[in-house]
């Protein structure tokens, strides 16, 4: 197993061109904290972008930051926080969940399109990628978009490469839209609602004119793992409001009044709110994942969320809902039967899944994301070939044989 970790884009391009010429498969990685996601890649050589790092431009007045793919996400978070701004999609740190210790990179987060609680109202990581440089599977430098906030020139390759898990090109530089961080935050918590009523409360909150920025539902045991919520000793629906102080004070009270039908409601103050949403972001309510367990991430229409929770319960798993009920995180025993049960429920709900963590043998043999219908799978193959003609970049990561 050899590892290449060049610092310069030209060297990355040369390494890929070389691999292309010899049809040598490459495992693309940032800091390699996400190799356990989806299917295992069969490649003897790893091409790491972790040394291709550094913020190349930050214009707070223009709401834009560009950085090389290997830049640690934490460094970017610190740089924007210093100017009172934030990464809009609130990307999670899944290190604990995935059992990885290293610091994740911007490139990794974008390549996996990972977004946190704010995704439900403010868009995904991919929504804020304004521009990209990347190296395709032939070793050519390509770019798309730019460092401006509105751009419809040509096909939007940024959206295609975000979330492509390194199977189309090695992303080398990313231009990210950022926004001011809100002055304060508060959370309305309504305890004692089962999944169905809980999601109904979240829908009512997201459908109210009070600018709710995140909405999650935790079963009793999952809530108990978060100190600020343990006292409820019950399942709890959580709704976050972020803005200037007067707005947060006004809206959280109005929201509480609007939702009295669902229960009394308690307003959680700024400091514990920040801790609790970070925990929701990182899927911490699931607790530690044991060696024989697997982790699924599921996206469905919010009203289908309670059905997914029921499917997880039936397997004796742990689970909770974010994104107003539309994102389900599930931990359960790592087995093909459990995978079948969960994916059947997701399929019935018209949603999608990602197998986020499982033993290698298992994840090599399962549909880690939903298979595409034949007509779309044929397009997928042709588009893959359009970027990576020798099929050398992260082979097998998404689908067997691709």
């Amino acid at each position: 197993m050899s590892v290449l970790a060049p610092a310069e884009e030209a060297e990355i391009a040369a390494a890929i061109a070389e691999a292309h010429a010899h049809a040598t498969p490459l495992l693309l990685a940032g800091n390699a904290t996400k190799n356990g996601l989806l299917r295992p890649v069969q490649a003897a050589t790893t091409l790491s972008l972790k040394h291709h790092a550094g913020i190349t431009l930050y214009a707070p007045n223009e709401l834009i930051l560009t950085a090389r793919a290997g830049t640690k996400l934490a460094d970017i978070e610190a740089a924007v926080a210093e100017k009172g701004q934030q990464i809009i999609a609130e990307p999670p740190d899944l290190g604990a969940l995935l059992g990885e210790e290293g610091a994740q990179t911007l490139g990794g987060v974008v390549a996996c399109n990972l977004s946190g609680p704010r995704r439900v109202t403010a868009g995904a990581m991919r929504d804020h990628v304004m521009g990209m440089r990347a190296i395709n599977g032939a070793g050519e430098v390509i770019h798309s978009g730019g460092r401006v906030l509105k751009n419809v020139t040509g096909l939007d390759l940024c959206k295609l490469l975000a979330g492509s898990f390194g199977t189309l090109a090695a992303i080398t530089e990313i231009a990210l839209k950022v926004l001011p961080a809100s002055e304060t935050v508060a959370t309305l918590a309504i305890a004692g609602l089962d999944a169905r009523k809980g999601v109904a409360a979240l829908s009512a909150a997201l459908g109210a004119p009070f600018g709710v920025s995140a909405a999650a539902w935790l079963p009793r045991a999952e809530a108990a793992r978060i100190p600020a919520l343990a006292g409820f000793a019950a399942p709890v629906a959580l709704m976050r409001i972020e803005d200037f102080r007067p707005s947060v004070a006004y809206r959280s009270e109005r929201l509480r009044a609007a939702l009295t039908d669902f229960g009394k409601g308690e307003i959680i103050a700024e400091a514990p709110s920040r801790v609790l949403w970070r925990a929701v972001r990182d899927a911490a309510p699931l607790g530690a994942v044991a060696p024989g367990e697997a982790v699924w991430r599921v996206s469905v229409r919010p009203s289908a969320g309670p059905g997914i929770i029921a499917a997880a319960d039936a397997l004796g798993g742990r689970a909770f809902l974010d994104w107003g009920g539309g994102l389900a995180w599930i931990v359960s025993g790592a087995s093909a039967e459990n995978h079948r049960a969960i994916t059947a429920a997701v399929r019935a709900a018209g949603g999608v899944w990602w197998l986020m963590r499982a033993p290698d043998g298992l994840r090599a043999s399962l549909d880690v994301i939903p298979p595409e219908p034949a007509s779309l799978a044929a397009i997928t193959r042709r588009v893959k070939a359009a970027f990576d003609p020798a099929f050398i970049l992260n082979p097998g990561r998404l689908y067997a044989g691709l």
Binding site: A59, G146, K150, G154, G207, F244, R254, R301, P302, P370
Partner: protein, 479 residues
């Protein structure tokens, strides 16, 4: 003038057979082939370019779209998808040997779900039609192009259209959940659905803004949002573009993102005031319209913060609206800007580049210099928060020389946008208009990468041929 490829002689020769073939697939009135009735389809919002198509097909169902595309594919016939035909870049301009596939008969709202905050609509539903369908429940569809009374969601998806409020709510791409598409081979494919995010490749993201190059969209699942409690505008006028630009920076860096932040230069202010009598200050060099949302108290709080910032920039006037009527008056001039410029000069080109917002003063100065050297007037309207610049170049359509100068002027402005770090188009698309400028923004390798994706969807290049991509040898007209 931008060149179009030579029509395929075999297609022109087979016209009668093609029309008959289409008639067999569609209801009686669904195929138009009479020259007089083809005339309305000969152009779009870029009216300087005209070309009557071979025929127009008006399917009513996704299955009919599939049948038409399969037929065209089998017969090597080019296809130009069309919504309302309001494209300002010539995106829906027909070709002489192409069948226009118009989606306007697919105009039904299929489902609305308030709990999951989405609506499923056919591609021919107008942009405003979506908001109208959900307004009674207090909801709206956020992207609001100025053409929203006419333009259709299928066109919006293919152009990734924006609007005055996209600073807060995002553009079309940020407000979609799913699509039903038909490939040129006639396959019907569902993309996305009612959930967030794609598990495999983000086809939804790729198809959005693809300008009819990849597939025909027949259904769209959009996100709908709850309307805010209220909204209110204010107006701030300044002595120079530099000062107004610095004020925009100060607002954004203070942590306030207004829902709208519109900039007008002196010629735009004068044109709009003469037209709308909105009370705009005629002694100002630049003016901002700033809108905030929320309850009355929240509006007061935000407007007070913004007013205080504006006051630091020696404004000529600052007017905070006290009512919905006053807000409407402030917006009236801006919303009527196209009509207003149209009164000064019946013919104008509406350009659409994006620049880093910090470069605005310099870009406006250079546009002013170009205006002098081309001898053509220009008024600038700018979505200041996101850097999207709309210079309106005035010319005389009866004078071909004037039109050519206007086109050259426009091209120079767009190249300037790229030069300062921006792009050729922020929301109107490349179409035919900016096709030949693409090498200013992209390398040959970039363009080939995009072309290969086009080929992956449309191997014979039948869909909206000769738009977006500079003509290659295979498509270039014989000299």
């Amino acid at each position: 003038m931008i060149r179009l490829p030579d029509p395929k002689p075999e297609t022109l020769a087979a016209r009668a057979r093609i029309v008959a073939g289409l008639r067999a697939l569609l209801p009686e009135s669904g195929v138009i082939a009479e020259p007089l009735r083809l005339k309305p389809y000969e152009t779009d919002g870029l009216a300087a370019y005209r070309q009557v198509p071979l025929a127009v097909a008006l399917p009513e169902t996704t299955e009919q779209v599939a049948a038409v595309l399969r037929f065209c594919h089998e017969n090597g016939v080019r296809v130009v998808p069309r919504g309302a035909g309001t494209s300002l870049s010539g995106g829906a301009l027909p070709l002489a040997d192409a069948v226009v596939v118009g989606l306007m008969r697919m105009n039904r709202v299929l489902a609305i779900d308030y709990a999951d905050r989405l609506a499923v609509v056919q591609a021919g539903v107008t942009n405003i039609g979506i908001t109208e369908a959900v307004r009674a429940a207090g909801f709206f569809y956020a992207p609001d192009p100025s053409s929203q009374l006419a333009c259709m969601i299928g066109g919006n998806v293919n152009m990734n259209s924006g609007g005055a409020h996209c600073l807060k709510y995002g553009v079309t791409a940020n407000n979609l959940l799913g699509l039903k598409i038909v490939t040129i081979a006639g396959e019907i494919i569902e993309i996305g659905g009612a959930h967030l995010d794609a598990a495999g490749y983000d086809w939804l993201g790729l198809l959005t803004g693809s300008e009819g190059q990849l597939a025909v969209v027949t259904e769209v699942t959009v996100r709908i949002l709850r309307s805010p409690e209220g909204a209110r505008a204010m107006l701030a006028a300044f002595r120079s573009n530099e000062i107004a630009g610095a004020c925009v920076d100060a607002i954004i860096t203070s942590g306030i993102i207004p829902v709208a932040l519109e900039f007008m230069d002196r010629p735009a202010i004068h044109a709009c005031e003469a037209f709308a009598h909105a009370g705009y200050p005629l002694d100002a060099e630049a003016m901002l319209i700033i809108e905030v949302e929320g309850s009355i108290q929240e509006q007061d709080d935000l407007l007070a913060r913004i007013k205080e910032i504006c006051a630091r920039f020696d404004p000529i006037s600052l007017k905070v609206s006290q009512s919905a009527e006053e807000s409407a008056a402030i917006w009236k001039g801006r919303k009527g800007a196209f009509g207003a410029v149209g009164r000064i000069s019946p013919d104008y080109l509406c350009m659409d580049g994006t620049i880093p917002t910090g470069r605005l003063p310099e870009v406006l100065r250079r546009i002013g210099e170009m205006s002098d050297s081309y001898g053509l007037k220009v008024a600038n309207i700018f979505h200041a928060g996101d850097g999207n610049l709309h210079p309106l170049i005035m010319f005389d359509a009866n004078d071909p020389e004037s039109f050519h100068r206007a086109e050259a002027f426009g091209a120079d402005i767009l190249k300037l946008c790229v030069e300062v770090g921006g792009c050729l188009t922020g929301e109107h698309g490349v179409g035919v208009e900016k096709r030949d400028l693409m090498p200013a923004q992209f390398t040959a390798i970039d363009l080939d990468q995009q072309r290969r994706i086009k080929t992956a969807f449309d191997p014979d290049w039948l869909l909206n041929t000769a738009k977006v991509f500079p003509l290659t040898d295979a498509l270039a007209p014989a000299a």
